[in-house]
Subunit: 363 residues, 4 copies
C-alpha cells in the first residue's frame, strides 16, 4: 500500500478523477494463462454501477471496461488469457455534469476531502471530488475481477449489507440466496422492507445514512498471510479502510471480542479429516495474521454520505463562513454500492497473499 | 507493510522470537541530527514491560534496550544524535522459562497462531509462541520512541484503555492526568475500582478478558496522508490490526457512524484564524485519507488473552483430540499492555506520513 | 524497481505491448502545482519517434500522448498543472503490421526475449516482441518528461551517442551544439560522416551494430542518494540496465577506473565559494552513492539490434531446428533511439532521489 | 532496493558502522525448513575477512557471526533450520582503532563519501568511514550465505578477479581449480606472479589500484526475472553497483557488445534435449531481463582504493585547503575482497527472483 498502488506480488495501481476523461488501473503480477475478457470484468462493474435503483445515485454511467494490455490469445483455446504482463484496464467517464460542481469550487464540503486535499496539495480538481470521489472504486472493482481469476473458482468471495442506519439484520435469518434479489444486498428478508422505508424517508428528508457491510471468503486454505506487518488481517484492515467513507474494520468477533472471556472467544478444535475442525469462528478465519482455513470474515462501517441536500455550516477557501447544500446526484447510503468494492478489496488482498505464500513456501 | 517491515520513508524492520537470545528492530530513514539515547527509548519500553502489577504477566524482563548503530556524537553538543543511517536496536531476552512450553510443542492452543504457523511453515519455534508472541511488540515500542523524535515535540501521542470486558468508561469523565497513575491506563477515575474487581475475578477464575484501547495524536497538521492506498487512516488501520490480538480498528465515530445521519456525522466548520475550526470530530482527524488538523483518534478492539488456565478443546499436530490448559505466565487482559504498543504504531505511521508528505510537497 | 513499477516517491508504472491497442504509464507521487500539458511531453516523444531518418526503423507511429488524469486548471494561471494525484499517460498504437510477425509465432529469434518469455510465462504476445519490445520505452520517455518538471529547470539532462560499432568519438571534439543537428545525437562533428557510412554499409549488409550512449545531468546538488541499497549510482545502474538491449553501465571513469592508480583516480578538491571545487570527475558525480554536486555521468553499452535480415540458427517452440531471418521494420542501431530513453531514466531516478532526500532531511 | 533494504520476497536489511559496536542484517522472507547454522555462514565471512594476506588490509577482525533469530530445531533431524521468520545476523566489531581516524574528522578524503555524507546529513560518523565503510559488506556476505540455502545446491555461484590494474587475465587459461589457491582469486595461473609483483610495487609506492571481478552462476533455470523494472540483469546491475567502489557493471559481452555486429552477437540456438542449446553466451544468461538457462555472467569494475598514503589535495569541513594522507590499515586493491561480496549479491538477487517467479507462476 503506497500512494496509489497496493499489493506486493499482485499489484494494483489506480488512476483517474471523477470528472476527467477516464479512470482505470494497472494490474501487475497476475499469473499467466488465466482466461480474462471484458465481459468477465464487466459483470462486477455492473454490480457497482450507479443508477440501478432509486436508492443509489442517478448518475448514468455505462462503466464499460476496456482491456488495453496484458491478455493474448491462448495457444490451445484461442481465447484471451493473461500473459503475466501488466493488465491495463480503462473505464471512460461519460456523464460528467461538471457544472453541478461549480459552486463548490471555492467552498469546503463538510465530511468531504475538499479541505484536506487543499491543505495537502494547494490545488485540486474540485469537480465531483476529483480523485477523492468514490468513482475511483470502479477501478478497484475491475482489479478485483482479475484477482478472482488469480484465486481460482475454489475461493468464493461475497458480501452483504448487514446494517443500514440503526437497523441491523438478524443473523439467524441470513440467506445468501436473496442477496442479489433486493436492491440492498440484504441477506435478511425481513429487513428489506424496513430498509426500504427507512431509506425512502432519509432521501425525502434530504439526508443520508451510514451502514455496515460484511464480506466473507470461503475456500481460503490455512497458511496464507505474511506476518508480522503483512498479516492477512492487517492487510485487509488497511485495504478496507482505504475505501471511501469507511471508518471502521473488524475481523470475526471484532469489537464484540472486547466483551468476551477467554473461553467464549477461543475457537476450540476437534480432529477433522483435513486439518482441525473449529467449533466457532470468532477469529474470523485469521490467527496470528495467518488464515486458519475457516471463512475469512470482515465487516466495515461506512459513514453517512457527506453530500446532503440539507444545509451545513462550512467555510470558503478564503476563510469566510458559508452554508453548504450539496446538489448533484448522490447515494443516500453509500454503503450499498460499497459491497462490490469491499468484495474486490478482499479478492485483491487474498490474491496477493496467495502469490506471496507460494513464493516463500513453494506451496 | 511487507512481512516484517513497515513504513516507506520511515521504515521499521523487526526480528526475534519470544525465547530466542534477543529481539530487536532496524529503523531506517530516520532524519539525521535528532537527539537519541538509550534512556529516551527505555522509558517507553518500561511502560510496556511485564511484571509491573498483578494485572499483567509476571514474566520478569528488564527489557533493556541497546543502540547498536545509527547515532553518533553531535558536533556542537557532543551528545548522541541520529546520523540518517539505520538505527539498530536490540533487547536481550533473559527470563525464558522454555520448559513451561514443552507440552505445547505438539498441540495447538486455541486462539493462538500455533496451527496456522504450522500450516504455513511446517516448522515453528513453539516456545512462548515464537515469532507470534506479543514479545515482538517490544521492538515496536522501541521503534516508536525513535518515531516520536522524528515527529518532534509538537505532536503529542497518548493512549488509554476505554473498555475492559463489558465495562466501558464514561467519556465525560475523561481525565488524562490520572492515566499514568493507575495500572490500567484508565482515564475515568470511577472505573478504576470496577476494573480492579473485574480483573481480580477474571484471574481467579483462570480466565481472561478483552478490551478497547484508544490512541489520540494532537498537533498533527492538516495535509498528511498519501491517498489512495497510503491513506493516513488506511495505514493506521493496517498498523493497528497487525498488533497481536487486535480484532477491530475504528477511526473517529467508527462503527457508531453507521447509525448516524449525514447532518449528525458532518464535522461542520467555522472560519478560524489558522484554517477552519471544526465543530465536531466524527472523522477522527482524517478525511479522504488526509489529516484535517484535528486530533487523530483511533480505537482498537483486543480479544481476550488466548492463554488461559481453564481447559479448552483442541487437537495435536498428529490430529488427535486433546484438552489444553495453558500454564506459564500470562496477562489476564493483554489490552492493558497494548497501550504503549498502539501509541508506538501511531507514532511510526505518523512519522512515515510526515516524511512522505514533505518529500512530495516540500512542506 | 519491481516488475513494471520503478521509483519510491516518484513512481512510474508502465504497461502495454508493441501491437496492442495502446501503451502508457501512470506517474504517481509527482509534486503538485507543476505546469504540465501534452505538448511539453510530446517534444520528448518526438525525439524518440521512429521513422525520422533512414538510420532508424521505418515504422510510422505518431506517438501522440494523451493525459488522462492528474492535471487540472491552476487557480491563478488557468493553465494545466499537476495536482499531486496519479498522472495517467497513454499513447495509442496505430501502425501495427502484425502480419509481419506471423512467422515468428512458433520460433525463437536469437538475442530476443522470445524463448525466456515462453519459459517464464508459457504464453506470450509474439507480435513485435509484445511486452519485451522497445516500444515500451515510449512510456518511459513520457514519464521522463514529467520527471523533468519535478526536477525543475535548474537540472539539465542531455545525452549523446559516443560510439557506434567500433567507432568511438574523440571526446576533445565534444560539442553539445551539434548533437540535435545530426541523426545520431553525435557530439563530434568529425564522426558524423563516418557513422553515416558505417551504418549505411551495415544496413545494406542486412546486419546491425551496437553503440555506447552517454547521459549527463548538470545542476544536481550534493547530497542526493539513498545509501546503501538505494544509492544514486545503484539506482541509475538498475534503471539503465532495464532499458532494452543494454548490456553494460558505467559511472564516471567506469571500467577505465580498474586501470588507474589511487592518485590518478582521486577527484582532488580545492576550496570553492559554494562547496569544494573538484579537479576531476572520475567519480561521475557520485561518491558513496550520494551526489557530489558535479555532473552525474553515465554511459551504457547497447548490443546490436537482434532483428537482422541475415539468417541465424534457432529452434522452434516444438524443439525443431530452424533458420530465422527477421523481416519487418527495424533499427540498424537501436543505440540511436536509446538516447531519449536513457535521458528519461536519468530524469526519473533523479526526481525520485530528490523527493526521497527532501522527505528524509527536509532539504 | 530502498535505503538499507534490498529484495522483494527475499529481503535483506543491513545496519552498522565501521567502528560501532557491531554490524549485521535481517534476512526476511527466507523459505522455511532449510538447514542453517553459524558455521555455514562463517565460511563465507572467512573468505571476505581482512588480514588473510599482505595484499589486503591488516585490520584484525574475527568477523564471527551470531544468529539471533529465525532458526529452530527441526522436528526430524533436531538440527537448526530456518522457520520462515526473520533471520537476524550480527557480527561484533572488535578491532576498531578509532584514534587512527581522529585527523579525518574535519577533512574530506578525496574519492571517499566524506563530503557527500556531510552534504546530505550534516552529521556523520567519520570513524573509518562510518556507514559508508566497506565493512558493511560483511553483512551482505552473511545474507548471501542464507540466499545460497534458499537457492539450493543446484545453483553454483562463484567469482574471480579477472583484471588488476591494467593486467587482465587470458580467458583461455581460465581454471576454477586454482581460484581458491592464490590470494587474488585469480583463475589464470600465469597471471598470479604478475599481480603479486604489481601489487607489491603498488603498496610500496603508497598507492592503490583498481580491478575487475567476474561472477558466474550456473544452474539457473530459464524463466527467472521480473520484467520490465525488476529484470534479472537490471537488479544485478543495481545490486553490484551498490557495492563500495564499483563504477561499472556489465552482463555477458557487456561493453564489448557495442562493437559487435548482429550476427556476431546473436546467441544462436540448436535443438537440445532440455530446451535450446545456445552456441554462445553474449547475453550472459539473460535476455529480455529473464534468465535463458545459460550461466549468468556479470563483471564489475572496481576503482582503486581511495585511502592512499600519498598526499592528495582536499578541503576541510570549514572550507580550507588541506593536503590529506590516509594512514590506517587499508587494502591496496579492494577488488580482491570484493569477490565474496559480489558472489553474495548474485546469490541474494537470484534467491529473490526465484521466490518472485515461483509466486507469480507457481513454477
Amino acid at each position: 500500500m503506497s500512494h496509489n498502488t497496493f499489493g506486493h506480488l499482485f499489484r494494483v495501481t489506480t488512476w483517474g478523477e471523477s470528472h476527467g476523461p477516464a479512470l482505470g488501473c494497472v494490474v501487475d503480477g497476475c499469473p499467466p494463462g488465466l482466461p480474462l475478457d471484458e465481459a468477465f470484468i464487466q459483470q462486477f462493474l455492473d454490480k457497482r454501477r450507479p443508477g440501478t435503483s432509486r436508492f443509489v445515485t442517478q448518475r448514468q454511467e455505462p462503466d464499460a471496461v476496456k482491456i488495453l494490455s496484458g491478455v493474448f490469445e491462448d495457444d490451445r483455446t484461442g481465447g484471451p488469457v493473461t500473459t503475466g504482463t501488466p493488465i491495463s484496464l480503462m473505464v471512460e467517464n461519460t456523464d460528467q455534469r461538471s457544472k453541478d460542481y461549480g459552486e463548490i469550487r471555492d467552498r469546503y464540503r463538510p465530511g468531504h476531502a475538499d479541505y484536506p486535499y487543499d491543505a495537502k496539495y494547494g490545488v485540486r480538481d474540485y469537480r465531483g471530488g476529483g480523485r477523492s470521489s468514490a468513482r475511483e472504486t470502479a477501478a478497484r472493482v475491475a482489479a478485483g475481477a482479475v484477482a478472482r481469476r488469480a484465486l481460482g473458482d475454489g475461493i468464493v468471495i461475497r458480501g452483504a449489507v448487514v446494517q443500514i442506519g440503526p437497523h441491523a439484520i438478524n443473523r439467524d435469518n441470513w440467506n445468501w440466496d436473496i442477496v442479489e434479489d433486493n436492491p440492498f444486498w440484504c441477506p435478511d428478508a425481513d429487513m428489506v422492507p424496513r430498509w426500504e422505508e427507512f431509506l425512502d424517508a432519509t432521501r425525502k428528508a434530504g439526508s443520508s445514512t451510514g451502514a455496515v457491510v460484511e464480506v466473507q471468503a470461503s475456500g481460503v486454505p490455512a497458511g496464507w498471510g505474511a506476518p508480522i506487518y503483512g498479516k492477512l488481517d492487517g492487510e485487509l484492515a488497511g485495504a478496507m479502510m482505504s475505501i471511501n467513507a469507511v471508518k471502521g474494520v473488524e475481523i470475526g468477533a471484532g469489537f464484540g471480542a472486547a466483551s468476551l472471556s477467554g473461553e467464549e472467544n477461543a475457537d476450540q478444535m476437534r480432529a477433522g479429516n483435513d486439518g482441525p475442525l473449529f467449533l466457532s469462528n470468532n477469529n474470523g478465519g485469521v490467527a496470528g495474521g495467518i488464515s486458519t482455513g475457516q471463512d475469512v470474515i470482515v465487516r466495515i462501517a461506512i459513514k453517512p454520505t457527506s453530500s446532503i441536500l440539507n444545509e451545513v455550516q462550512s467555510v470558503t477557501r478564503d476563510g469566510e463562513n458559508v452554508d453548504v447544500r450539496t446538489k448533484g446526484r448522490h447515494d443516500p447510503c453509500v454503503g450499498i454500492r460499497a459491497v462490490p468494492v469491499a468484495e474486490a478489496m478482499m479478492a485483491c488482498v487474498l490474491a496477493d497473499q496467495k502469490l506471496r505464500h507460494r513464493g516463500q513456501t513453494g506451496r
